[in-house]
């Protein structure tokens, strides 16, 4: 390869998820002398953020598992990464009303990309960057990383020709910075498909370690979470963000169109359930035995308390004890009431559980 003319110093804005691909994409441009700055949009649906919020004792000894990956990427690249909290707007516009629909779960991937790129465009103009760089790989994701989807996303974001995807550039039309000679197409790559081998090799080459697993990232792609979310939308059109947060913890049961139950799976779930409990919710707990905290939300009919107490009692470790005492109270009430129930069977659990 002959050395081309040295390109003039330009600035690019990198869309940094914190994963390996976006780190490598930025790195490839840095290698060409492009100044890269990063931006990361926090949507509230990141699995690592979620896990950090849980504060599991077993994670305490491994803070590297919970580190902010966009900052990790920024450190590896030695470039500033701006972290922008977009949770509220993202939820209202992308999650609830995706123009291009959902993928196999509740994942509005195309709208998500458009949303982030529009935000990035505004930030790019503010910081004086001349184009955007992303870690997208052609054919890696079934929804948003197809050729036609990429074109659509680019157009909708108003960034036609201004998105450089260094990992797959050889398979894509030349972008404006390439045509203008700001970057050299020859040194960009031709990776496509779902295999991660080329990226892992490249990471090794650049000495980038400690990066997270791919696509571990988004709760909206999680089938279990999606099922709960769909149940919520179907039964409670006027739901709140608190309702959505609650979907991230515990086991969920649909008792009636107006009533649902959340049962903690462990101490961390119980703590979170307590945190998100609101007035009018009812909290239940087995007395005398260790067991979960349950939260009942909605309109109760006769027999409902008994039913959910029996579901709660199902989850104590000891079996065959006959009737179990379960105490319950409204969130703002001081006094417990109590009820004796036989734990429900496995079959009953499955009947009511919102599950995949």
């Amino acid at each position: 390869l002959s050395d081309p003319e040295p390109p003039r110093r330009v600035k690019a804005l990198g869309l940094v998820s914190g994963g390996l691909d976006s780190t490598l994409a930025a790195k490839l441009l840095q290698e060409q002398g492009v100044e890269v700055e990063g931006v990361h949009f926090a949507t509230g649906f990141c699995k690592i953020d979620h896990r950090r919020a849980l504060q599991r004792p077993k994670d305490a000894d491994h803070p590297e598992r919970l580190r902010q990956q966009a900052l990790r990427a920024g450190a590896d690249l030695e470039v500033p990464v701006e972290i922008v909290d977009v949770a509220e707007e993202y939820f209202q516009t992308v999650v609830l009303r995706p123009k291009y629909g959902y993928g196999s779960a509740m994942n509005p991937c195309i709208d998500c990309r458009i949303f982030m790129l529009k935000k990035a465009k505004a930030y790019m103009e503010e910081t004086g960057a001349s184009f955007i760089v992303t870690g997208e790989v052609l054919g890696q994701r079934p929804m948003s990383q197809r050729r036609d989807a990429m074109r659509l996303i680019e157009k909708e974001a108003g960034l036609e020709g201004y998105i450089v995807r260094p990992l797959s550039a050889k398979f894509l039309p030349a972008t404006i910075p390439e045509k203008e000679g700001c970057i050299n197409r020859e040194n960009l790559l031709g990776i496509q498909g779902r295999s991660r081998k080329p990226q892992i090799k490249l990471a090794d080459h650049y000495g980038i370690r400690d990066y997270p697993c791919p696509a571990g990232g988004c709760l909206l792609t999680d089938p279990q979470f999606a099922k709960r979310m769909k149940d919520l939308i179907e039964h409670k059109p006027d739901f709140s963000l608190n309702d959505v947060h609650l979907l991230k913890f515990g086991r969920h049961f649909r008792l009636s169109p107006h009533l649902k139950l959340v049962v903690g799976r462990n101490e961390e779930d119980n703590r979170k359930i307590q945190t998100f409990a609101q007035e009018e919710d009812i909290l239940l707990k087995v007395s005398k035995f260790p067991g979960p905290l349950s939260l009942l939300r909605g309109k109760t009919d006769e027999g409902d308390i008994e039913k959910v107490a029996a579901i709660t009692a199902h989850y104590i470790k000891a079996k065959g004890l006959g009737k179990i005492e379960v105490t319950y109270k409204g969130v703002d009430e001081d006094c417990h009431q109590s009820i004796f129930v036989l734990p429900v069977s496995r079959g009953e659990i499955e009947r009511f559980m919102i599950n995949e």
């Binding site: 803070p63 990790r72 920024g74 690249l77 500033p80 972290i83």
Partner: protein, 84 residues
């Protein structure tokens, strides 16, 4: 934990990362280049995130010491002028 008066202090205890980092960034913006900031935090992950933030944003991470319980006291020196 005694903090000399000339050093800026940010108490980020009770907040989970990356919120303490975002607060750190905002606080640093109001300091002069060369100034030192002490951050008090109790989310252990900050020991990973703060050095990464400093490297990424071009500031100097001066290390940490442990306090009572989960409390840590981290020191950062602002080296790079504000960007935007």
């Amino acid at each position: 934990m005694i903090v000399p008066e000339s050093v800026a202090l940010l108490d980020a205890r009770g907040l989970y990362c990356p919120v303490p980092i975002l607060r750190t960034r905002e606080r640093l913006k109001r300091l002069a280049v060369g100034a030192e900031l002490v951050v008090l935090a109790d989310d252990p992950v900050i020991l990973k995130d703060m050095p990464a933030f400093c490297r990424s944003h071009g500031h100097e991470y001066l290390g940490h010491e442990s306090g009572a319980g989960q409390d840590v006291r981290l020191r950062v020196r602002k080296l790079r002028p504000n960007l935007v």
